[in-house]
Amino acid sequence: MTGFEEVVAALAEAVPVQAGSPAEGAEIRVTDVRLDLPLEARLGLEGLWATLPRGLFSTGFDPALDRVQLTFVARGDV
């Protein structure tokens, strides 16, 4: 598990903010993104330790998954 801030940064990194270019004939820019994800989390004095669920198969001994919804907005000089 990592600090929740690193999870947020990794998720932001995983979403493309733009694709294509004028040279290619079209450019797409993402203005905002909403993610709704399951989350494995643990409370600590430092806040939330978290990771995205790692597998598809439940072992039967897993903790109930938490959930996180994030909205990212594009910021920049374009």
């Binding site: 643990r42 806040g47 903790p63 594009a74």
Partner: protein
């Protein structure tokens, strides 16, 4: 997987908010690396499965649900970004409190039972100034009805809160090299009548008087000793100490009272 320790919600929210600040910083760093377009986090909601446990003081702590623990509560937090000005609008101005003493500074607070203290805390009353504002113009019985704090305990608190109190003093430069002493405290002035201030038993000139501070000009032979403020038939006492030497010190070198030099009614 360990479930972690139980913790108060407010501790979690504070720690989590700090994490979100760090997340924003991480995202902002990407913009500085030359990327023309990056993401910023605008809203975030998180659902946590927790169990509630009271601690020895009756405070509710939340503990994250462990593997195969059934019946957990779902705690839904929603966070959104706010601007600095919004923070300032919704934050208690520490300098705006006309009586910033903590309630524990009142001797009567020691006789308040734990339940009443908790109710005051829940009502957001941490300073004497907040207590006064709550009770201003209100019948203590009405306050009892709303907060459930016994009238007698509230009246005792309010009576002591209304006493003049000296919390400290400092020397500031006055005109023509004559030092001026600023006495800080609470209830040091009442209405239009000026308080009487004595240094070592001698009245000194009162230049300015407000509820939370008085400016006085000591006489040349005053160096240290007891000081008194008399206002509305009530008295607050403390000790003063002025630096030796013909020149008034700079305000930055001013002396503030410690407990030994503080005052009390």
């Amino acid at each position: 997987m360990t479930t972690g320790r139980a913790m108060p919600v407010e501790d979690f929210v504070q720690a989590f908010t700090a994490q979100l600040d760090r997340a924003q910083d991480l995202l902002a760093l990407k913009a500085r690396t030359g990327r023309p377009l990056t993401f910023a986090l605008r809203d975030l909601a998180v659902d946590l499965h927790v169990f509630w446990e009271p601690d020895a003081n009756g405070r509710m702590l939340m503990r994250h649900a462990g593997p195969n623990e059934q019946g957990a509560s779902t705690l839904h937090f929603t966070f959104t970004t706010i601007t600095k000005s919004m923070v300032e609008e919704n934050t208690l101005a520490l300098t705006g409190d006309d009586d910033p003493r903590g309630l524990d500074d009142l001797n009567a607070a020691q006789h308040i039972d734990a339940g009443a203290r908790k109710k005051l805390e829940w009502a957001g009353i941490r300073t004497v100034g907040q207590l006064k504002r709550l009770s201003h113009g209100a019948d203590p019985k009405s306050v009892q009805s709303f907060l459930g704090i016994p009238v007698l305990q509230l009246e005792t608190l309010l009576q002591q809160a209304a006493q003049p109190h000296i919390s400290g003093h400092e020397v500031i430069p006055g005109g023509m090299g004559v030092p001026v002493v600023r006495i800080r405290g609470a209830n040091l002035a009442q209405g239009a009548s000026a308080p009487e201030v004595r240094f070592s038993g001698e009245p000194v000139e009162v230049l300015e008087a407000r509820a939370n501070e008085i400016l006085v000009r000591p006489m040349s032979h005053h160096s240290e000793g007891p000081m008194e403020v008399l206002v509305g038939g009530k008295r607050a006492a403390g000790f003063y100490r002025l630096p030796a030497g013909p020149e008034a010190p700079a305000a930055s070198a001013s002396k503030k009272n410690g407990p030994a030099e503080g005052g009390s009614p």
